[in-house]
């Protein structure tokens, strides 16, 4: 139902694209993936949620743990291609105070590279 669809590694950063319901399972999968890349030295991440247009607060809460992990290594996370309700949910929760959002992946890539 939901999964990481694709992982790209351009210009020293990692782009994770997902598909389906952003729930606890997908949140944990993203967290594990980012943790593995942090341990290998990556510090900048883009989460492309263009194909995850529905979210719940449990999945989104796991992003708070990811932000904590990235703060410890001076890393950063950005979101791109968020559905309006996902963007609104992240804004209400305060995630967008700690993660930049971009309307397209190319825009995010240009800003973070």
């Amino acid at each position: 139902m939901s999964k990481i669809l694709n992982i790209e590694e351009p210009n020293g950063l990692v782009i994770i694209s997902t598909q389906g319901y952003f729930n606890k399972d997908l949140g944990e999968e993203i967290q594990k993936t980012i943790t593995d890349f942090i341990n290998k030295g990556t510090r900048s991440f883009i989460l492309n949620l263009s194909q995850s247009n529905i979210v719940n607060s449990i999945g989104a809460s796991i992003i708070i743990e990811v932000i904590e992990s990235l703060q410890e290594v001076d890393g950063d996370l950005a979101f791109c291609e968020l559905a309006p309700i996902v963007k609104k949910t992240f804004k209400i929760m305060g995630l967008t105070k700690y993660c930049k959002t971009f309307s397209s992946q190319s825009e995010a890539l240009e800003a973070l590279s």
Partner: protein, 141 residues
């Protein structure tokens, strides 16, 4: 479908069952002519309401969802026959307090529901909880 239909669902407490409720909400929102923005807000609030009931009610009977449409609004009632809760004991979450502390990262459901819907009301006692939330139509919808 009548002009102002009412729909009742009974959801078993199983993983991702909340998505069945959102599908119903989407169909009714479209029938009522609500905007996609409002439809998304209703679905999100409904997801959170279902998850709260699944996780905290300790109900063995599943949860009941009533969708009541009218010319003015969509009312959604999420009903469980669980142990109830005291809304005054629910802390308002703040991401700044959650970061860099041992505070539980979760606990956003009620805040999200209140932010996304036009009115929200809880009636809860030891025999269960009824959450009633309303999304109003705009004059041009």
């Amino acid at each position: 479908m009548s002009k102002n239909p009412t729909v009742e669902l009974k959801l078993p407490i199983l993983k991702n069952m909340e998505l069945i409720a959102t599908q119903t909400a989407e169909v009714l929102s479209k029938h009522m002519g609500l905007s996609e923005e409002k439809s998304g807000e209703i679905s999100m609030a409904l997801i959170e309401a279902c998850i709260n009931a699944f996780e905290h009610s300790n109900s063995k009977e599943g949860i009941f969802i009533h969708f009541i449409t009218s010319e003015e609004n969509l009312t959604v009632k999420v009903i469980d026959q669980g142990i109830g809760f005291d809304a005054s004991e629910i802390a308002i979450p703040d991401i700044e307090n959650k970061l860099k502390t041992n505070e539980r990262k979760r606990g956003w459901g009620i805040m999200l529901i209140k932010e996304l819907m036009d009115s929200v009301d809880f009636v809860s006692d030891s025999s269960g909880t009824t959450l009633t939330m309303v999304k109003n139509k705009d004059k041009n919808e």
